[in-house]
């Protein structure tokens, strides 16, 4: 395992890249191995879904790099959070299905529209979704992953939640510190580099937002609080 804290001179982006590469090694290996044993069309469907989800994760990282590096500008527009979560759920669902995990959507009433870059936000939720699906899949009785949004006094809170996996504030804080330097920064939550969490954070960072541990309807998860547009509220 890497010697953390001594002689490791990776900057934030390098660590994120390293975590991403490690994360992508897994589905790529699964694709390779499935190709060895595939006989039914179902097998090839799985290969395709794995390839697509890996591509989405890589694209999410690339997008965050482009926006942070000012290579691509943010395309800010009014975004209906519930519609965006619906699109993200559709993106996550094929991947979840392969792992026997169901994806549920729940958006509360009167969630305010926000001004954001739709592609950045959707990519963030999809990246996060992959991690939650893998975490659920690892439990003895895989259940559901929930995409939920609700209104709060701080803004629109949107994120991913699950019933069985508890993610604590301290675990997230420590994971951020060792991400890219430990193979399993969120070991108590999910096996593997959990790069989707950090790609999501990088993407949300372009919108001056961040992930935080959240609880809603007896479920725990990771969410972000987005500021509603004052102008849109007047309309």
């Amino acid at each position: 395992m890497r010697q953390t804290g001594v002689g490791v001179q990776l900057n934030q982006q390098e660590r994120l890249f390293l975590g991403l590469v490690e994360q992508l090694t897994r589905p790529l290996l699964a694709i390779s191995h499935l190709s060895e044993v595939a006989t039914m069309s179902e097998d090839w469907q799985t290969v395709r879904v794995l390839a697509n989800s890996s591509l989405r994760l890589a694209e999410g990282y690339a997008l965050s790099l482009r926006v942070h590096g000012k290579v691509a500008p943010l395309q800010l527009e009014p975004v209906t959070v519930s519609a965006l979560l619906y699109d993200a759920a559709e993106g996550i669902e094929p991947f979840a299905q392969r792992y026997g995990v169901s994806v549920e959507l729940n958006t509360g009433p009167r969630v305010q529209p926000v001004v954001a870059d739709r592609q950045v936000l959707q990519s963030a939720f999809e990246s996060l979704g992959q991690v939650f699906v893998l975490a659920q899949a690892e439990s003895e009785t895989p259940g559901s992953v929930y995409l939920m949004a609700h209104r709060s006094r701080h803004g629109a809170v949107a994120g991913l939640y699950s019933g069985s996996m508890q993610l604590g504030v301290e675990s997230l804080r420590r994971a951020r510190a060792v991400q890219g330097r430990a193979h399993q920064p969120l070991q108590q939550f999910v096996d593997g580099p959990a790069a989707g969490v950090f790609v999501a954070e990088s993407l949300l960072g372009t919108l001056s937002a961040r992930l935080h541990v959240a609880r809603y309807h007896n479920l725990s998860g990771l969410a972000t609080t987005l500021q509603p547009s004052q102008q849109l509220q007047l309309i």
């Binding site: 395992m1 010697q3 953390t4 804290g5 001594v6 420590r174 510190a177 330097r181 920064p185 070991q187």
Partner: protein
């Protein structure tokens, strides 16, 4: 009449099999030294991996003494679990190694210093910013110190004070430094060794500038001295 119950904090040193359903735990405690307890009915199905007595933790245990040298565990409550240790394979392996070292080089009757040493090792292992090499060297030094085998870090064998401008080699026979040009150890390394053998905890040592370099330079000396001095 019921046997009196004893309550103490404890750290697991070993777990072994016993019969159909039981396990024998060797625990390190601050008050009773090493204690061997039978944990009844916990074999396999309630494997220790999921039990309340985790490795790399401090657990509060209640036990009764037995007629022989094995008591019976009555109850256990996890106090502190150093969970970050097992997030890292190297740190997990070092944790097992340190537990084994301490168990091998100590008798059953132990001062509370050994319990604190192992607990301090867990605290350091639980912090990913503190390197495994530093922890390994520090632990070896503490085992030497607690057993009364601190090397002479002040004078040469003939009593001459160590000088800041000299270079030294270490004599395992005399357990002291001897001046010699082009020798590997200089004043900075010796100062670092003094900090280690004074009982400073790893968190303090990790703040010393260039500590990684010092650790690399004195690792062979300290670990070698431990192996040569303490039975393993």
């Amino acid at each position: 009449m019921n046997a009196p119950q004893h309550v103490t904090d404890a750290i697991v040193l070993t777990r072994t099999d016993y019969g159909e359903a039981d396990r024998i735990l060797t625990l390190l405690t601050p008050t009773y030294g090493k204690v061997r307890l039978m944990a009844k009915g916990v074999r396999r199905v309630r494997s220790k991996l999921a039990g309340s007595i985790e490795l790399f933790s401090v657990t509060n245990v209640t036990f009764v003494k037995g007629r022989g040298d094995i008591g019976t565990l009555v109850s256990a409550r996890l106090q502190t679990y150093y969970g970050r240790i097992v997030q890292n394979i190297d740190r997990t392996m070092l944790g097992y190694e340190l537990i084994k070292q301490l168990h091998k080089v100590t008798e059953d009757e132990l001062e509370s210093d050994y319990f604190q040493l192992l607990e301090q090792a867990f605290i350091a292992l639980d912090d990913p910013t503190i390197s495994c090499d530093l922890i390994r060297v520090w632990f070896s030094a503490q085992l030497l110190r607690l057993s009364g085998h601190t090397p002479n870090l002040r004078t040469e064998p003939d009593g001459t004070k160590l000088a800041t401008t000299q270079r030294y080699e270490f004599s395992f026979d005399d357990r002291a430094f001897m001046a010699r040009p082009d020798a590997p150890y200089d004043a900075d390394v010796i100062k670092f060794l003094r900090l280690i053998f004074n009982g400073n905890i790893p968190h303090i040592l990790a703040r010393v500038e260039s500590n990684a370099e010092f650790v690399a330079r004195c690792q062979l000396l300290v670990v070698g001295l431990r192996r040569a001095t303490l039975r393993e």
